[in-house]
Symmetry: C2
Subunit: 346 residues, 2 copies
């Protein structure tokens, strides 16, 4: 199943490490047959050292138990936790969990942890959905090393040539979404549009930056772009907006796809003594609680995450069944949700 | 572990049914030893018939794999799905999943399904969190029959004397929360307060009704109470409010704890030609997307669901470890979140 360089340890590896036969390993780990305590301890240590586990997948097949998939966010807690908790990840989770159960898949939720790391090695899952994985995402790397089927929501970041193969994905068209927001700002009369993006190696930022640079070039505007560390959360967006406004006081709009950054940008615009939308417009991407409850409410896009989640589960289900023909699924086009924060001047 | 009447089938039951030894059952189901195809098929049929599964819990203990718990909502899709998807359940889920992972528990999400039924028998879980279980909740009954540790969020509905024992729970004080909302309405000047509750046998409705009747009696007001089938969702709340307003045109406030019903009540008040809050105030319980994005925004209560979720996971963890001493945990007190929908007149 796997062609990656460090496959999961198998029973023979454990037997070799412990200096016993594979049958003894099986008996020791499954509490069957006669295995003395000292041998059992040696086998258990070897299994632990090599990360070996009995093949739960085969057991699930045999007993009719649901296969387990995990839903992971690649976003840090600062952006996807706290006040943004009921965001993109959970909207996908609600739909994906129901769609998964319809296919005899149990969805385990792995939200961003304040401590930072998801203990993946505890989760003996059969496959995974990963939201917008960045380059080098450690959870994604772990899953791919184990040779498990993974589907990304949003195109995964390009890896180095010697990295693991890119997982199949549902394309959520981050470039088009950014163009939609930028052209809306232009249509509403904005003529000096600044952009705030995350600095992580995430495809949506890459596509967003390319779209912004093309937009600025087409309108003869110098690009005003700030890249913010996701770990800075709301305050990162605020600082970036303050710095941009100080350097370019004639900025009349901010396009800030990350909603936590957008909340910070709104604070910054207000702190600088400007009004939204009269002096500066602000738009964001995800149409969640932050966009809707911001004062003024933020123009955003409907990403049709229910359809995206359904597509992702269907794609992962294919790969779990061994049908790996589809590597990319075309997600729905985003639709603008215009709100007060970009209402036309005058 | 279990004292319930129909415990889970064990390996001896399967052996008896198939007419073989327990060792043969074990070998057949675990693809170990020499078992001929005919015997294996007979054992598998017996296991299927009796609903037997190998004790995954022991395997998880042995291999260090995370224990699996499931988070279930007892609410139907009409109330907890669709536009309310990012609601109470998912707010609990986000926090509970992280708290669970901190304790080596993997949280499987079982959201309300449009098809109605969660396929519990596929989920070989070690324990469960159930949100506000109603009397006769089939998922809860299934879990208790299997003798699995279950913790309820919100006091479970009282069962008949011969029903299964009530699971331990985190008390979210539905009576006090209702009093908080009703007294707020009175303080704001409302003098004829109607109440809309769900008709299901759910403890929060029972406590809410008791609190409302005491409130009305203390103020010499005849209770104006409507009970709505949860399956009716938003439109159920709308119809109930329209009927109450038609019968009692001097109603000046609605207390509607279920947010989907509250959205419907807001529509009804407006359809009747009345203004909110000038003519009729509307308040709800859960401070989610519906309350915050309603026009006007709805007064609600902060249930401190992050703390509730933490408490529930800690309690379930105790019961999973065999410490069953705590049957009830005192959840945090709800706090009023006053908004436009109950702004004082004049």
């Amino acid at each position: 199943m796997s062609t990656n360089p460090s496959p999961r340890a198998n029973i023979k590896d454990v037997a070799r490490e412990a200096g016993v036969s594979p049958t003894t390993v099986s008996h020791a780990l499954n509490a069957r047959g006669q295995v003395d305590a000292e041998t059992r301890a040696r086998v258990e240590q070897a299994a632990l050292k090599l990360g070996y586990r009995p093949n739960r997948n085969a057991q699930r097949l045999r007993t009719g138990e649901a296969h387990m998939i995990v839903l992971l966010s690649s976003m840090p807690f600062a952006v996807a936790g706290g006040p943004s908790r009921l965001g993109f990840l959970m909207e996908v989770a609600a739909v994906a969990a129901a769609a998964a159960l319809d296919r005899r898949l149990a969805l385990v939720l792995a939200p961003p942890m304040e401590t930072g790391r998801v203990p993946m090695e505890l989760l003996d899952v059969d496959g995974a959905l990963v939201i917008e994985p960045s380059a080098g995402d450690p959870n994604l790397a772990y899953l791919l090393r184990r040779g498990l089927p993974v589907v990304a929501i949003g195109k995964p970041a390009e890896e180095a040539a010697d990295g693991p193969a890119m997982p199949p994905y549902v394309d959520i068209h981050s470039g088009q979404t950014t163009r939609l927001l930028l052209e809306h700002l232009h249509d509403q009369g904005a003529r000096k549009v600044a952009m705030i993006l995350g600095s992580a190696a995430r495809n949506s930022y890459v596509e967003g930056q390319v779209a912004y640079q093309a937009f600025a070039a087409a309108r003869g505007q110098a690009p005003l772009l700030s890249l913010v560390d996701e770990a800075e959360g709301e305050n990162g967006g605020r600082q970036a907006a303050l710095a941009l406004l100080a350097a370019h006081p004639d900025i009349d709009a901010f396009c800030v796809p990350v909603d936590a950054f957008a909340s910070g940008a709104v604070t910054a615009v207000r702190e600088s003594g400007r009004r939204i939308p009269e002096d500066v417009m602000v738009v964001t991407r995800y149409d969640g609680l932050r966009a809707r409850t911001c004062v003024p409410s933020l123009t955003a896009v409907d990403l049709h995450l229910d359809e995206v989640a359904q597509q992702a589960i269907a794609l992962l289900f294919d790969h779990l069944r061994g049908d790996t023909s589809r590597r990319r699924v075309d997600g729905p086009a985003a639709q603008l949700v215009p709100r007060l924060s970009s209402a036309r001047r005058g």
